[in-house]
Amino acid sequence: MLTRPIVAAALLVFLFDFTSFGVVLLLGAGRFATLEVEIYLQTVTLFDLRAAAVLSLLQLLLTALVTSAYSSAASRYGATARLGRAATHERWPASGRERLLVALTVGALLAWLVVPLTALALRALFSVEDGRLTLALFTRLASRPRGAALTVAPLLAIRNSLLFAALTAVLSLAVGLPAARAAIGVRRAWLRRLVDVAVMLPLGTSPVTIGFGFILALNLPGWDLRASPVLLPVAHTLVALPLVFRALVGGLQAVPVRLREAAAVLGASPAQRFIHVELPVLGRAVASAALFAAAISLGEFGASALIARPELPTITTAIFRSLSRPGAANYGQGMALATLLMLTTALSVALIERLRVAAARDF
């Protein structure tokens, strides 16, 4: 019974690990380079685009293989499960053994996730010299210290990131809503499947590959899009789209069919039904999908590392630049930025979760 879901989960973990970039780039420090990091290094530092292209192809092939294995393993289970129905299975752990297991799991998660993040926040908040609580690192974000790795004030990176995140939210809704509607409403099965696969494809492709592809493809003669600041939100939209799409499809499916039919009989055309019934009823799901896209954009690093212009850094690229150069000022800057990023992301995730729960309660 559980074999398939377990295989699917393992493949998903493999996929994420296979395409992980930021952590390896920072922790591997040149000794452990994944394909991702290799593509990045070949492109950015060695300018060997051919080698990068070959590596990208190899990676695409492997991810395609794993993704198709994943989708065939998951198709009969979790992936198609309706959203918002979990409440019926939720209960408190009953026996002592169950409680122990739950406690161990939660404890391990906390240790893995929370300890490094807390350490980061503490380092950012307490002075290295005398160990006192200080906001000095944060107040210094507004100015660019001497010898800093960044060419602009770190605060600008935050502004850029928020701007890109907002644009990403708008773009991914603009693409995701029609796609989700089509994926549900289209009668022909093959067309529906085509939309589904097309939208989900970026999930199996690493952001670095996407960024690399943008750099290669958008070098149009006479119109070099690579310099356009819009490029980054577009890339982020591509990265966020699969997840936004899934959230929207789940939300749309939860709109009772009766409401659509009632609207139809009352004279509403399909477009009118979408605007006057589905969207308003979906309101919360749409809002949470938009926030989701924004959160992904805020934390996105792989594509940003390749595409972001030096004069328009995002929070993540600023963190990376700060941490990869020597100097206490740079280090502190990276800490402070990382803490801020963590806070914004945690806030948006909490908001998304609230919206999701509220949306699930509506039906």
């Binding site: 009766r258 009632a262 609207a263 009989v265 009352l266 509403a268 055309s269």
Partner: protein, 323 residues
């Protein structure tokens, strides 16, 4: 009800020639099983036809076919023209769903106004016009002053009336009601059982009324179509169907032990004669058109032209079994 309303009702009535609605040999297959099998039915303009049958016999599916929500074989015609190419939103019909399906994000007024807003062709183009029409309808269903209520704060009966008002607002050519009284508690049901035919007759509304309840069918309709397992087994006036059930199933379903007397000579699809034939010996004849035992505060009175039916007639002392 104002002048324009009456005009519209009269126009509708005049336009409806012999048969407003004609369902011609409709069949629906779902998952390999026949949900509807060769169903034919007509309704004249201004006529109220009840679809009567046990649950799962295809009544609701037939409504969905007529509304344009259900792919099917066969044909649905309105005033002789096929609706095959007309989508649900172009048919100008109204449908009151069993579960009402009120829009949860709109208040009562905006629910009722929904159909008006979707159809720019009607005279209710501007907001003031729409508000007037909505007020008119809320008054008709006895819910004046409910405009601003959110729909999740309504009781079952109130929600049912709002659904009725919403369906009536855009002047539907045909109104379909799917078990509109199911799930309501008794006093409310009896109240609506009186109000509903009153409202429909006042508007001369052509209507199809789906129910599994004999009482409802008798109280509301001009003609009854009895359905069983996806087929229509008998059509006729309530009285004709009651007095001469076409077969044992109809008889049983109408609450009678068997179908005594001669088998019906009239083919099932023609309305039975008013009361020309000899009444079956088992039919109670002494009790005609009287009030049901009043539930507290109601004034449910059956239309006198109906004969008395076992389920609604109070037991007469002479027949009462000693207990």
């Amino acid at each position: 009800m104002n002048g324009s309303e009456q005009d519209a009702a009269r126009r509708r009535h005049a336009a409806a020639a012999a048969d407003a609605l004609e369902v011609r040999r409709v069949a629906v297959q779902l998952g390999g099983a026949a949900v509807l099998d060769d169903v034919s039915l007509t309704a004249h303009g201004g006529e109220i036809v009840a679809l009567l049958g046990p649950s799962g016999c295809g009544k609701t599916t037939l409504l969905r076919v007529i509304a344009g929500l259900q792919p099917h074989a066969g044909d649905v015609l309105w005033q002789g023209r096929s609706l095959a190419a007309v989508p649900a939103h172009g048919r100008g019909f109204g449908l009151v769903f069993q579960d009402q399906a009120l829009f949860p994000h709109l208040d009562v007024e905006r629910n009722v106004a929904f159909g008006l807003r979707m159809q720019p062709r009607t005279q209710h183009r501007n907001a003031a016009e729409r508000r007037r029409r909505v007020a008119e309808l809320l008054e008709l269903v006895g819910l004046s002053g409910f405009s601003r209520r959110p729909v999740d704060a309504l009781s079952g009966g109130e929600a049912q009336r709002v659904a009725l008002a919403r369906a009536l607002a855009p002047h539907p050519r045909l109104l379909m009601l799917d078990e509109p009284l199911a799930g309501l508690d008794r006093p409310l049901r009896e109240q609506l059982l009186v109000d509903l035919p009153r409202i429909l007759r006042r508007l001369r509304q052509t209507a199809l009324f789906v129910t599994h309840d004999l009482e409802e069918a008798l109280a509301v309709s001009d003609r009854v179509a009895v359905m069983r397992a996806g087929r229509i087994v008998q059509v006729g006036t309530p009285r004709a169907v009651h007095e001469r059930p076409a077969n044992a199933f109809v008889a049983r379903f109408l609450g009678r032990a068997a179908a005594p007397g001669p088998p019906p000579r009239a083919p099932p699809t023609t309305p039975g004669p008013r009361s020309s034939g000899p009444a079956s010996s088992a039919a109670p004849t002494s009790c005609t058109g009287r009030c049901v035992p009043p539930a507290a505060g109601t004034r449910a009175c059956w239309r006198p032209r109906l004969a008395c039916y076992p389920t609604i007639c109070p037991p007469r002392p002479a027949n009462a079994a000693p207990s």
